[in-house]
Amino acid sequence: MSLTYLQFNYYRGEKCSIQATNGTAQFSIPLNSENSDYQEYLKWLAEGNEPLPADEPS
């Protein structure tokens, strides 16, 4: 599944998930190394892509 990573989500001030889209659906990916979507994000980072900005919680 090819995703575009959008931003981090925050819950009560803590970074909690990564928001992403495949162009139609949206995905909130937990920061858990057993989650295959998060593994894909880490792989995407390892390929030299720009990390998501560490936004302040909205």
Partner: protein, 428 residues
Amino acid sequence: MSILNVNQIQPVGSGQTVTISATNISAGSATVTAGTFTGNLTGNVTGNATGLSGSPTLSGITSVSTSNLTVNGTAYPNAGPLSNRNLIINGAMQIYQRSGISTNIIGYHLDRWEFGASGGTRAVTQETLTTGSPYDEGFRNYFHLINTGASTASNSYREITQKIEAQNVANSGWNYTSSDSFVTLSFWVRSSVAQTYYVKLKTNDGTAQAYGSAFSLSADTWTKVTKTIPGNSNITINNDNGNGLNVAVVPFYGTDFTDNSFVTDAWATYVDPPQLPDMTNTWAGTTNATFDLTGVQLEVGSVATPFEHRSYGDELARCQRYYYKISGASNDRYFMGLAENSTVFYGVMHAPVTMRTDPTLETSGTASHFRVSYSTDTTCNAVPTLANSTPNTALIGGAIVASGLTANQAAMLGSNSASSYLALTAEL
């Protein structure tokens, strides 16, 4: 003791039967032959009993030692468990929780089956079987792939894969490090193009190992393919919730992924390339060529036993460990929650079975598909997001309405559109 030395004993006159009244009959190392034996055969039978017919009753048997026990054409297991034999989930292609997604998406369509592709265009659907050999064996659905845009480019490929959770393989009874222990893969497959295709197995723990094997199809003809695969001392499969074994059926790999140095029907360290030998590219080069698959079973032992048909509910529950979707028409409610302030709502979505790991939240992606309901219905102005997930629950919400909520107010997240859905995904 009297000894009768004769060459033949024949019935008198026109009779057909010789009756021997004796407690024991011993043939020594010789063979006793007759057109028909009647009466009871007791004691130790150590030779081969061939040509049994009629309705003989065999009693007192403590073991049947055979590599292939077949009764009325049905093979019986020769290793592994006697129930829950199929390591494949949704092998009959019944479950399609993602029904309605775009047919050209690369990824999951029918539950547990990941479609991988590059080059050209293609479409995946779940189709209904109404006739044919797999129908006669109880299959009513199949995975249908259409090669809508042909491509034989070197980097093109099409594959249909199921990733099996490692602990399901580790606990299956397959002694996977022994070449004397086997698993058997069987499936029904049909293609519009006659040529040779491949199956591929790949382990993922330790040093990854791969196994590829060819099968040939006639055009537009359902064919039952069976592959018996031994263990190998280099295989590692952890007893955990990771990806233990990939089982892939491959309509096409371009030459970036293949080389004729690949040895089929043998395990070897996984390298890429080659993952398979060079493939005939007729199917890949044919616009609107089709490839259909159902009845996939992977079981311990060296024989393919009948497909383990499971009830829809059983199969759905197995799928929901990896993907769980709820959707509804407008006005349907998803779950209760609490307002944190005038714009922020959070509620807990429960998974019906324990999921493989903390799941991702998938939504239909449009804010107006959702509403928060209390004394009134308020359409969302942002898509609900995931605050936290465990294998059993997901905390979902956020600042998803413009105003109107009151802190600590109970409210419900619901559907505002027939296109609305929430899903939890913990695929491998």
